[in-house]
C-alpha cells in the first residue's frame, strides 16, 4: 500500500535534521588546516556560516610574503546570506513534518543538493581567486606557483601543507543530507522495490 504521507520515523528524522541545520550555525562549517615546520601546533582557518575564525590574523600576516590578499569577513557577502539559507533549511524541515508529503521532501532534498553544489563552486572560486591574485611586488615569488587551497583534501603550498576538510557544522550538514536521502529512499519505497526485483 503506497501513501504520500510520511512515516513517523521520517518525521522524527526531519525534526533532527532541523536541529542539525540550526546547530551548524553555532559551530564552524569548514576548516583549512595549515602545517609547516615552524608551526608544529598548526594554523587553522575556521569558516563559520557567518564569519572567518581561527588564526586569521596570523595567516594574514604570513600571506604578505607571497602577496596574497588578506582575509576579512566583511569582504564576503556569503557570510551575510549563509545563516539565512541554513536557518530557512531548518524551518523548511520543520514545515515538512506538517506538510506531511513525500514529494515536498524530495523537492527539498533536490534543493539541498543544489545548494551544496553551488556552495562548493563558490568556495572553489574564492580559493582560486585568493590563490592566484597575487601582489606582483611580493617578497617571495615562485614562477608558476599558485597558492590555491584544495577544495577538499590535502595540498602542499610552499612550506605549508593545507588540509581542507569539513568541520563540525559541515558534518552536521552531511548528516542532514544523508538523513534526507534516507527519508526519500524510504518514503518512495526504493528499498522494497529493490528487494522485489
Amino acid at each position: 500500500m503506497e501513501t504520500t504521507k510520511l512515516a513517523l520515523v521520517s518525521k522524527i528524522l526531519l525534526f533532527i535534521i532541523a536541529g542539525l541545520f540550526i546547530g551548524s550555525l553555532f559551530v564552524p562549517m569548514w576548516q583549512i588546516d595549515l602545517d609547516a615546520p615552524q608551526y608544529p601546533e598548526g594554523l587553522v582557518l575556521k569558516l563559520h556560516a557567518n564569519k572567518i575564525g581561527g588564526d586569521v590574523e596570523i595567516i594574514n600576516g604570513l600571506n604578505h610574503y607571497i602577496g596574497m590578499a588578506t582575509l576579512h569577513t566583511e569582504n564576503f557577502i556569503e557570510f551575510k546570506i549563509l545563516p539565512y539559507i541554513v536557518g530557512a533549511f531548518s524551518l523548511i524541515s520543520i514545515a515538512l513534518i506538517f506538510i506531511n508529503n513525500r514529494k515536498f521532501v524530495l523537492a527539498f532534498f533536490g534543493t539541498f543538493i543544489l545548494f551544496v553544489i553551488l556552495a562548493g563552486l563558490d568556495f572553489y572560486r574564492w580559493n582560486y581567486e585568493y590563490g592566484h591574485n597575487l601582489d606582483p611586488n611580493a617578497a617571495i615569488k615562485v614562477p608558476g606557483m599558485a597558492y590555491q587551497p584544495p577544495l577538499i583534501g590535502y595540498k602542499q603550498l610552499l612550506n605549508f601543507g593545507a588540509y581542507s576538510v569539513p568541520d563540525i557544522g559541515g558534518w552536521y550538514l552531511i548528516a542532514a543530507g544523508v538523513m534526507l536521502f534516507y527519508i526519500v529512499f524510504k518514503e518512495f519505497n526504493l528499498f522494497k522495490r529493490k528487494q522485489t526485483i
Partner: protein, 672 residues
C-alpha cells in the same frame, strides 16, 4: 764481596732515618692509591643514561628553578634532562633582554641607594597553598642589597621587588608560610638599625647592632608584597629559615650563628660556642601584637618596585615606615633552641613535626620536635635567656640526633616517604636517613662539596620525590676545563628506590644555591602566557598599528613611536634629529603569535638592546654622539626576511634646517 756489600747497604738503609721515612711514604701512598675508588664514573649505574634521557621533542617531568647565586638571576632547567630553558633576569642587569637597560625596566632595580645593577640571588621558593606548591610564583632573595623578588610563572618575568630596611645580607630568605601568607627575610649581618645612628665604632656590635627579621605579606590574588612588620632581635647572624607547616603552621624557624657577637675574624670568633641557636618565631602571636598596636613605627627608607603587565612598565615607590616588634620586650614571640656548631640549614619535615638543624661544623644532626618544643615552652623548661629571649633547654626540644652522618651538614630536604636527605660539604656527600629512627640509610658521594640540594616539592607538605639534585660548590675536573673559571656543577640522583643513584651531571650558570622544582604540568597549565594582547597594551607610547607610528619632538627629546612586524619597522627612515637630542625608540611588537619576538639595536648606543615580545612596547634611550647616519636593525631572527628588517636614522648638527620626517616605503630616491 757482593754479599758484604749488600749487607752494608741494608744496614745503611735501616740506620738512615731519612731513607726509612721515604720508604714508608712510598709504601703508604701505594696502599692509599690502590684503596681509592677508581673514578667517579663507577658511581654511575648502568641505566643512568636512560633515566636522564628526554628524547628530542619530549618534555621534562619537572621544572627546576635554580638560584643564580652571584649572577643575580634565576635559571630554569628541566628535570631529569638538566637542560637549560631560560635565565630570568631578576637582580642583575641583562643587556641581552634589555633588563635594566630599557626605560621600562630601570625602576625594577631601583633601591634606597639608587639604581643597583647587580645582586646575589641565593634562594628560590615557590608559592604554596595548603603547604603544597601551587605553581603561581617563585620568590628570590637579593643577598647584598637586601631585597625579595617575586617572579610570575605565567610570564616567567620578575613582577615585583621589595627592599628590606634594617638589614644587611638578606640570607634567610625568601622562605614562605604554607599559604604564602608571608615571605620572610632574616638579616645575615646584624647592623645598626636604619632608624638609629649607624655612625658608631664597629667594635660596639653588642650594644649597637641589631638583627631584624622581616615578614612580608603576599596578597592572595595579585601576589603583591608588603612589608607587614619586622621583629628586632639581639645582634647575631641569621642564616636560613623555614616555616612550620601542618601542626607547626604559625611558627617560623631561623638558624642563627655568631651568637658570640663577633665583629671581626668571624671564622674563629664566631666558632667559639659549642651551640648557637635556632630561633622559633610564633608569627601568629606577632600578628596579634601588631593588631594590639604593640608595633613601633620606625622611620626607614626602602623601595617597592612593581611591574605592570598592561603598561609593560615598572614603577618604583619609596616607602618610609615600618612596624617593628621587639622580641626582648614581647617575651612570647621568639624562643631560642640551642643547636650545635653554627647551624646553617634549618629545615622542617613534611608533617611539620621535625625541625632539622645543620651545624656546619658538627658531626651529628640534631632533630627537634615541634610537640616537645611546645611542651618545653609551656613547662618553662628554659636554661636562661639570650638578650631577653628565652632559651629552651636543648634536651627538652630534642627529638634525637643522627649519629655519625658525615662531616659538615648543610641542608636537608624530604621525599615525603619518611626519609630525609642531608648534604655534607666537608665529606662531600648526600646522606639519606630515617626521620623517626634517625638511622642512616644510604650515602652517595658528590663531585664536589655539595651545598644545597633540591627534591621537587622537597620543603613542602607534599614532596614529589623521584629526583634529588645536588648543587655543588666545587667543579674541578667534572667537565672540559675552561681556564681558571669553571662552570658550576649540579648532579641528579634517582631517589625512587632504596638507594640513591647518580644519573646525570649538568653544568649551571652563576653559582646555584637553593633551588625548587615542581611537576611540569603544574606550571604549564597555570594559564601561562604565549604573547601579550595588543588590545590590552596600555603603554603611553604604544603604537598599536603602523598608522599610529610617528616621531614627535618635545624640546630636545625625540619620541619615536615605532612598530615592528615581520619584516619591517615603521618608520624605517627618520630624519631631522639633531646632535644634543635624546632619542627614545618606543618599539611596539605588533605580532600576535607565539614565539615571534623582535629585537632592536641602534649603532653606537651606550645601552643594551631591546627584545620585544609580541604585543609589548619597550623603550631604548639613545643619545647620538656625532653627526651622521645610523643604522638600526632587528636583532632577533624573526623571519625569512629578517636581514631586511632594518632602517636608518639621520643625525644633523644642532640648529640644522633638516625637517623632522619619518616614513616607511615612501622615501624613494629623488635622482634617477
Amino acid at each position: 764481596m757482593k754479599v758484604i756489600r749488600y749487607l752494608n747497604l741494608t744496614t745503611y738503609i735501616m740506620k738512615n732515618k731519612f731513607v726509612q721515612a721515604v720508604l714508608v711514604i712510598a709504601l703508604g701512598s701505594a696502599l692509599v692509591t690502590s684503596c681509592k675508588p677508581k673514578s667517579s664514573g663507577d658511581a654511575v649505574s648502568g641505566d643512568a643514561a636512560e633515566k636522564a634521557y628526554v628524547a628530542p621533542g619530549k618534555y621534562d617531568e619537572f621544572y627546576n628553578f635554580v638560584s643564580g647565586g652571584f649572577s643575580g638571576q634565576l635559571s630554569v632547567y628541566g628535570l631529569p634532562s638538566g637542560r637549560l630553558f631560560r635565565v630570568i633576569p631578576v637582580f642583575s642587569v641583562d643587556p641581552e633582554k634589555g633588563w635594566g637597560y630599557s626605560e621600562e625596566t630601570k625602576p625594577m632595580l631601583n633601591t634606597s641607594h639608587g639604581f643597583v645593577p647587580w645582586d646575589d640571588l641565593h634562594h628560590t621558593e615557590m608559592s604554596q597553598t595548603n603547604g603544597e606548591v601551587d605553581g603561581r610564583w617563585v620568590f628570590g632573595n637579593a643577598n647584598n642589597t637586601p631585597r625579595i623578588a617575586r617572579i610570575d610563572l605565567k610570564t616567567f618575568k620578575t613582577a615585583e621587588i621589595i627592599e628590606l630596611p634594617n638589614s644587611g645580607g638578606n640570607h634567610s630568605s625568601p622562605f614562605i608560610t604554607e599559604n604564602t601568607e608571608y615571605v620572610v627575610a632574616g638579616t645575615r649581618f646584624s647592623v645598626p638599625a636604619d632608624y638609629s645612628n649607624g655612625d658608631v665604632p664597629i667594635n660596639t656590635y653588642k650594644e649597637n647592632y641589631k638583627g631584624h627579621i622581616s615578614f612580608v605579606s603576599v596578597d592572595k590574588k595579585s601576589g603583591e608584597m608588603d612589608l607587614a612588620f619586622q621583629i628586632v632581635t639581639p645582634g647575631v647572624n641569621f642564616d636560613l629559615s623555614h616555616a612550620g607547616k601542618g601542626k607547626s603552621h604559625g611558627w617560623f624557624f631561623f638558624s642563627c650563628y655568631n651568637t658570640e657577637q663577633a665583629n671581626t675574624l668571624l671564622e674563629v670568633n664566631a666558632s667559639q660556642k659549642d651551640k648557637d641557636f635556632i630561633m622559633a618565631v610564633n608569627w601568629k602571636k606577632a600578628e596579634e601584637y601588631i593588631k594590639a598596636g604593640k608595633g613601633k613605627k620606625q622611620k626607614v627608607k626602602y623601595a617597592h618596585n612593581t611591574w605592570d603587565e598592561h603598561t609593560h612598565s615598572a614603577k618604583s615607590v619609596m616607602k618610609d615606615e615600618v612596624l617593628v616588634l621587639d622580641a626582648s620586650e614581647l617575651k612570647d614571640i621568639c624562643y631560642m633552641i640551642p643547636c650545635p656548631k653554627s647551624p646553617h640549614g634549618c629545615d622542617v619535615d613534611p608533617t611539620g613535626e621535625f625541625i632539622v638543624g645543620s651545624g656546619k661544623l658538627a658531626a651529628l644532626i640534631p632533630v627537634f620536635s615541634f610537640d616537645k618544643l611546645q611542651a618545653a615552652i609551656k613547662g618553662k623548661k628554659f636554661e636562661g635567656d639570650y638578650g631577653g629571649i628565652p632559651v629552651v633547654k636543648y634536651e627538652a626540644a630534642l627529638h634525637g640526633e643522627v649519629q655519625k652522618p658525615g662531616l659538615g651538614p648543610l641542608h636537608t630536604e624530604f621525599d615525603g616517604k619518611g626519609s630525609a636527605y642531608t648534604t655534607f660539604f666537608v665529606s662531600s656527600e648526600v646522606v639519606k636517613w630515617d626521620i623517626k629512627t634517625l638511622k642512616v640509610l644510604d650515602r652517595v658521594p658528590t663531585y664536589y662539596s655539595v651545598g644545597h640540594l633540591c627534591i621537587p616539592g622537597g620543603d613542602s607538605k607534599k614532596p614529589f620525590g623521584k629526583y634529588l639534585i645536588a648543587y655543588n660548590k666545587i667543579t674541578k675536573d667534572r667537565y672540559l676545563p675552561t681556564g681558571p673559571e669553571l662552570a658550576q656543577s649540579a648532579q641528579i640522583f634517582d631517589i625512587s628506590g632504596d638507594k640513591m643513584k647518580l644519573i646525570l651531571d649538568f653544568p649551571t650558570i652563576g653559582e646555584p644555591h637553593y633551588a625548587q622544582a615542581a611537576p611540569a604540568d603544574l606550571i604549564r597549565n597555570n594559564g601561562q602566557l604565549k604573547f601579550y594582547k595588543l588590545e590590552d597594551n596600555k603603554h603611553p607610547y604604544a603604537a598599536k598599528g603602523e598608522k599610529e607610528a610617528k616621531v614627535v619632538r618635545e624640546g630636545n627629546k625625540v619620541h619615536v613611536y615605532m612598530t615592528s612586524i615581520r619584516s619591517h619597522f615603521a618608520p624605517d627612515n627618520i630624519e631631522g634629529v639633531f646632535l644634543g637630542d635624546e632619542v627614545y625608540f618606543h618599539v611596539t611588537n605588533l605580532e600576535q603569535d607565539w614565539d615571534v619576538p623582535h629585537g632592536f639595536a641602534v649603532k653606537g648606543a651606550n645601552n643594551g638592546e631591546l627584545l620585544i615580545m609580541p604585543g609589548e612596547t619597550t623603550t631604548l634611550k639613545w643619545i647620538p654622539d656625532r653627526v651622521g647616519t645610523f643604522p638600526f636593525y632587528c636583532t632577533d631572527f624573526c623571519s625569512a626576511l629578517h636581514q631586511e628588517m632594518q632602517g636608518y636614522i639621520r643625525v644633523s648638527p644642532k640648529g640644522s634646517k633638516v625637517p623632522l620626517q619619518f616614513s616607511l616605503g615612501t622615501n624613494l630616491p629623488t635622482t634617477k
